[in-house]
Subunit: 205 residues, 2 copies
């Protein structure tokens, strides 16, 4: 197995993370890039900038544009799209459960299933009942996964990812950080980030 | 001559407007899209959101990323890039002069020359001496152009563009507004905006 050459930072509440999460697995595989999936929380980063909610709520013109833009992107990619209510969703629980799954081998499927429920069907994915359903749909026993999601170890992992994202200069989601620290922001920079990682690995090989 | 089918809103202080202004003319021509060049002022729109300077200054992580991202874009497009100091530049005068030029046939060349001076060489394009030099470089007599730039008619034109941008939902630059009101934001949406305009014209023909 090759070394991870690209950190993929995403936040379960983030609209633009939806098309990124749904597509990056196959794109990275095709490019031969080893990806590190790192769900993180935007809340603490936003709070540090003085924001108590999404900038898309704070700045209405920007918010209106975002909803239309995401709709266009989803149409182009043939992804179903439905706006969750409220926005943003409370995503602490799915983010923690994702770290359990990423260690146990079902994490990437879980992430895709959560985004599909949230932005494909508009479901409240922060609620335990919905997370439970998603897990069951993947054939994962919810009790053990939820118990482990609340362990100190998993909580620390999510906190560390959020702190490392901030140190890497991340300020929005999705973001991509290459092994040399190069940062890319936005689902529309995914191809560029993967290409950077490929060049970097070639240069270091 | 075909009808204008795409409004191109840009602000002389905006970094991401630089690669857009340098490339959109030939791209629009190749796509057969009639473009309406509409320099506008972001200042009043930012002020309405409670900002007294560029969000890239207000939010340091976002600002650091922007400078690196614009540098990467310029490298890829083989455009020289030099950060102007201070940022943002005071761009009222070049915006007014641009409207004179857009009526007199030298406006698009003027816009490209201003951006090349500002972001290719880091020059203070808000200063009258620099605007004068740019005009002379284009073979335009500065006195008449500057006098007309300060006329009530031209001032009103810039004000109207800024107000129409805001009504169209514009909140940043560059932005593109199609004849049906569809809005695209960012130089990385330029191809998408042109394609939209082409489809729209085809549908209306």
């Amino acid at each position: 197995m090759s070394c991870p050459v690209l950190d993929f930072y995403f936040e379960f509440a983030s609209t633009y993370s939806y098309p990124a999460v749904m597509r990056i697995g196959s794109l990275a595989q095709a490019a031969g890039v080893a990806l590190r999936w790192r769900p993180f929380l935007l809340g603490p980063l936003f709070k540090a900038q003085g924001w108590d909610t999404s900038p898309f709520n704070l700045y209405p013109a920007k918010g209106r544009y975002m909803w239309r833009d995401v709709e266009r992107i989803c149409t182009r990619l043939a992804l179903p799209f439905r706006r969750p209510d409220p926005f943003p969703q409370w995503t602490l629980l799915p983010a923690r459960v994702a770290y359990v799954g990423l260690e146990e081998g079902w994490g990437e499927n879980f992430c895709r299933a959560v985004y599909a429920a949230e932005f494909g069907e508009g479901r409240p994915v922060g609620e335990e009942a919905v997370v439970r359903e998603v897990l069951q749909g993947l054939g994962v026993a919810p009790e053990a996964a939820l118990a482990r999601a609340r362990s100190a170890e998993i909580k620390a992992r999510l906190r560390a990812a959020t702190e490392e994202a901030e140190r890497a200069g991340v300020f929005g989601a999705p973001s991509f950080v290459a092994a040399d620290g190069e940062l890319f922001w936005g689902q529309d920079r995914m191809a560029e980030a993967l290409a950077w990682a490929v060049r970097l690995r070639a240069a270091g090989a």
